[in-house]
Every structure is written in C-alpha cells, then in structure tokens.
Symmetry: C2
Subunit: 347 residues, 2 copies
C-alpha cells in the first residue's frame, strides 16, 4: 500500500509538503504542487481519510439523534438528511434515543469520546442544554429548542395546528378530539400545534378533548389502544386530529366498527409521511416539509462545521394542507400554505 | 482538559502504561493498574475515543448499506441494527444507495478512505463481490449474496413464497398475480420467494401473472400505478402476493373501486412491517424476522471485527404467517413457521 512517504520520495519533497497539498493549507509553490499531484496519481495513492481528518481535526461524520428511526416521520427525515450530507461529502451516524433520557446520555457520552463534526439533534428528551454546549462542537436543533444559542429548524406548527382546526370547523364538526396538548414535558415546537388547535376550535364553539400522545412506533398497539379508548369515552366524537399514526389508527378503528369516514367522523392527520398515501379513504393531512427541514438542517450544520457564521437563529418552514377524503371542507380560496419565518440571530 | 500525560504524571507511571490499562492489552501490575484507574477517576479523564481506536486500529463504527432508509422494511431493520450495535458499544453509519450502482460505488470509495470497522451490506445493487473484498475489512451480506466467502443472513424466502402460495390456494383463488419474479437482476435470496410462489400455484392448477417490482418508496405513486395496471390488465384476478407496500396499494385500489377484500380478491403481503397493522381489513402477511435478522447480522459482524472465526456461512431465519382478514384460509393445523437453517462454513 502506498504511503504518504512514498509519495514524498517520488515527488522529491518532504511528507509535510504532501500534507499541505492534500489539505490545501499552507503555502506550496505551484510547480511543487503539480509534481506532488502527479506523484499521487502515478502511485495511485489514496490518502487515509482518518489521518487527513485528524490533521484537520475533522472526521467527516455528522450524528443525527432522533427518538426512533423506524417511525415513518423520522425514517423519511433521516433518509433525506443522509442524502444531503452524502452530497456534501459527509457521512451520517444515526442514534435512536427511544424517548429515554438514559439513551440520550449514553449517546452524549459516546459522542464526547467519538470524533463527530456536528450533531443534528431531533430527540424528544429533555437533557439540559448545557450538556450539548459541553460537547464543544456544532449542534443544531431539529424541531427541538435546546438553547437560545443553538439554531433551530422546525415546521410552522402554529400554522399547522390552526389549519387542522379550521379544516375540521369547515367540515362541520362540533365535538373534536386531538392526540397531544397534554403531558408534553419537552420543549418541542411541535406541541404548539395542539395549543393552537384547542384554542381555535374552542373560539369557534366546538368541544375539544385532548389525549396524551405516547409515541412509540415499535409498540404499534399503543396507537390502536388510544383510538379504541377515544371512541369508547367519546362515542359522539365527530372530528379527530393527530399525527399520521394516530390518524391511521382512528381511521382503522372507525372503518372496522361501522363508523363512516367522513360522514360520521372527520380526520385530519399531521406529518404527511408516505404511509398516509396507502390508506382508503385518502387521508386529509397537514404535511410537514420533510425535505426542506432536512436541507436546512444540513445547510446550517455544515456551515457551522466549516467555521462559518450563520445569521439564522430559527428557521420555521411552512406546512401544507393536503385535502383527502377524510374531511369535507371544500372552500376553494383558503390559503393552504403558511408563509414560514426566519428569525435572525440578535447581533 | 485532562490528557493521558496528566494521568500518567498523577499516577507516577509512563503514558504507555496508561494506554495499556485503557486498552486492556499488555501486562500491567495489579497495584499499578489500580493506581492508574484511581488517577483516571480523580482527574475525571475521558480518553479520546478516536486516539484509543487508532491505537487499536478501530473506529467503533459499523456501516449499514441499504437501498432506502425511508422504506418501512429498511427503517425497521436499521433501527434494530442500531440498537444492537449500540448495546455492544458500536455506532451505526447509514448509507442509502437508492438502487443506484453509482451511489454504491461512491459509498465504497468513501468507506475505503473512512475508517469503519465493518460493513453490513443490504443494498440491491450489483457490484462485483471483489469490490467488497478489496475493502479488506469484515463484510456480511444481509439478504444479499455477495460471494461464497462473505457470510449471508437472510429470511427463509423459499418457505415464505410457498406459505403465500398455499394461503391463496387454501382461500380458493384460481387466478393470481404477484409483484416480483421477473426482471430480477440482483442475486438476492428474496427473489426465490417469487419463483417458488409461481411453481406452487401452477402445480396446483392456478394461473399466475408476474409483474416487475420497482421498489422506490420515495416515489410512492409507483405502487399505486402498479396496482392500477394489474387490475386493468387482469380484472378477474382473485389473489395477489407482494411486499407490504404492493399489497397495501392493491388493497387501497380494490376498496376504492368497489372490489371486496377478501370476497372478490384475496391479498397476502410480504415483510410484515408495522404499516400493515394500520390497515383495514387487517392484512394477511408473511412476516420476516426483522429483529432476528438484525441480531444475527450484528453478532456476525462484531465477531469478525474482533478477529474471531465464525463457522456460519449462511444463516437462514424462519418466516411466519400472520393471518388477517384479507384471505380466508382457515386450516387450523398447518405449520405457520418454517424451521430455518444454518449452513456451516466448509472447512
């Protein structure tokens, strides 16, 4: 195997010069640079990426911390992040926290010891923000507000909650239920959609029941049990709002119990993952901009890794209403897309 | 920040001794070891994982190469692999090939330069096995036969194909269709299920139409289009076999076109991902042992990384029929689980 010394000898220079050529750091005379590059090519030398990265203090790896990779929302998100990172020459390390603080702690310990260039953090746990700052490397929050100093990328959940409420109101619902808005102990922007949802439906004279969200995709039964409990406790419910999985479980429960959708009960899902495309009737869904969330997260983290300043403190991306056949709203002119906002860093 | 030199000085030993204590390699007197460990604790020293791994020539990272992380089967699989690897102290790097040889080549180049300890390979592309051997590090094939020298972990697709065929035969089908069994140009054990399916149904006097599989979860429309094409070309089809996504798309097409399931058409899905649990009627499914596939893959790759010999050349794990309401087979005594086999390495 060819080493950097072989290249140096072949080119008639020192190994440090070859290093400078490879890293692009430090002055090397143009003719020398060309001689080194020719030697690299002739000897078919592949620099050891790790050695090169140690030289730069970089590993080329970005860690993505999420609750559960198997969950459709996170699998689509991480897949999109991986593509973006790969296109920029980075590799993606994935960490499942399973909604457990202990897992999160364990990853933080691993990441402290392991060299990763940056972290995209999207887990739903609640460690103190200081712990991320201790890592002393770039971190961004994906749908998770960690600290004022850590940039946030999220969907416009406030608009999303309002759009869901308005769609059920337009569809004539009087007595609605949502999964979320109670027992949320993590500061995720996502919970705001549930506060807004409740406020908007109540301002319009509807009754609103809020059920706790216990996301755990591995135990898919929890969704079915939650749906069964809702229909048992509120057989007169006529409108439901929840993530794709809660919405799908409610649709399944309704159809298998002779409850007609949308005639008897209307459903609005939230997330817009592909799984909603396989349901019948076609699910009305508030779609998160998964690809844009991935793109912006990757853009910010790679800028920070390169040592560049970024001016954005919060990037809030618009959501979109995709109307299917689980609701009956049909106002033609309503806005289906919120504007999205970018909050600049206070200088 | 505390360095290894600080620890050495504090304990009154050389840095090499601290290294030996940390790595567990080489002799260190028990009293010295205890003194070093006490110094590590008192100084709150966290060894730099990368430096330690360079010392061992290990990064602690395993790469998992799959076609598409967003696909429910692969997201559940990689999630399970990540948990297993994490429990053994490894971190998981994920690589999407998107069924593209170019992506696969790119990852192989990245992995050649990047230090990863081993590779779990489950992509559906067709590079020559030599390219993996060139990497000179442990590789195992997950549902993908790379070379005689590379261990394989896969589900018992032969049994799975037979079970699907028998379930449709028992349900009284006469004219069935499957997605798969044509245009398969990659040597994946999975394709055998389609050859077996066709053989078994034809031996029993049924007609069988095989449609090409074009997996691409990002373009979920392809599934709906495939379902529409099947029903247009064979309106008299009364039994369908395909992966969860093809099965779900066919169920959706049938229900939204007044075709009754299971009365008019029976459906058997293959994979058994959680998404099938959210459908109505409940989908009859051949379930792959996703967790066991993950466990065995991780067991083999970590043994190889540790330099241990493994005797297994192929581990074929049993699949299971989970009967839902999309078929009407109801034989009580049939075997629902194949035995699974382990082929030992020829010594």
């Amino acid at each position: 195997m060819t080493t950097i010394q072989d290249v140096a000898k072949h080119a008639g220079v020192g190994a440090a010069t070859v290093s400078r050529v490879l890293s692009g750091n430090g002055y090397v005379k143009q003719t020398t640079r060309e001689r080194v590059l020719r030697s690299i090519e002739e000897l078919n030398y592949t620099p050891n990426e790790m050695a090169r990265n140690l030289f730069h203090g970089k590993s080329g790896i970005v860690a993505v911390i999420i609750p559960e990779l198997a969950h459709p929302f996170f699998s689509e998100m991480v897949s999109a992040i991986e593509v973006e990172l790969c296109n920029l020459g980075y590799q993606t390390m994935v960490c499942n926290t399973f909604y457990e603080k202990n897992y999160e702690l364990r990853y933080l310990e691993m990441l402290k010891r392991q060299r990763v260039d940056g972290i995209i953090f999207g887990a739903h746990t609640s460690l103190a923000a200081e712990m991320y700052q201790e890592l002393r490397r770039p971190v961004i929050g994906l749908d998770r507000r960690l600290a004022d100093t850590i940039p946030l990328v999220a969907a416009d959940h406030v608009a999303g909650g309002r759009m869901a409420a308005e769609e059920l109101i337009r569809s004539g619902c009087r007595n609605v239920a949502q999964f979320g808005g109670v027992d949320d102990n993590v500061s995720t922007p996502a919970r705001h959609r549930h506060y807004v949802f409740r406020r908007v439906v109540e301002e319009n004279g509807l009754t609103c029941h809020s059920y706790p969200k216990q996301p755990n995709y591995s135990a898919y039964n929890t969704y079915q049990e939650a749906a069964a409990r809702l229909f048992a406790e509120h057989p007169d419910v006529d409108g439901i709002f929840g993530t794709d999985l809660y919405a799908a479980a409610c649709l399944q429960y309704a159809l298998s119990h002779g409850i007609r959708v949308p005639q008897d009960v209307k459903i609005v899902a939230y997330d817009g993952t592909h799984m909603t495309r396989f349901l019948d009737p076609d699910m009305t869904t508030i779609c998160q901009p998964i690809e844009k969330l991935a793109n912006e997260s990757v853009r910010l983290i790679t800028e920070l890794i390169k040592g560049n300043e970024i001016s954005e403190r919060e990037i809030i991306l618009p959501v979109r209403l995709r109307r299917g056949n689980t609701t009956t709203g049909n106002a033609a002119a309503e806005s289906t897309e919120a504007a999205g906002t970018v909050t600049q860093l206070q200088q």
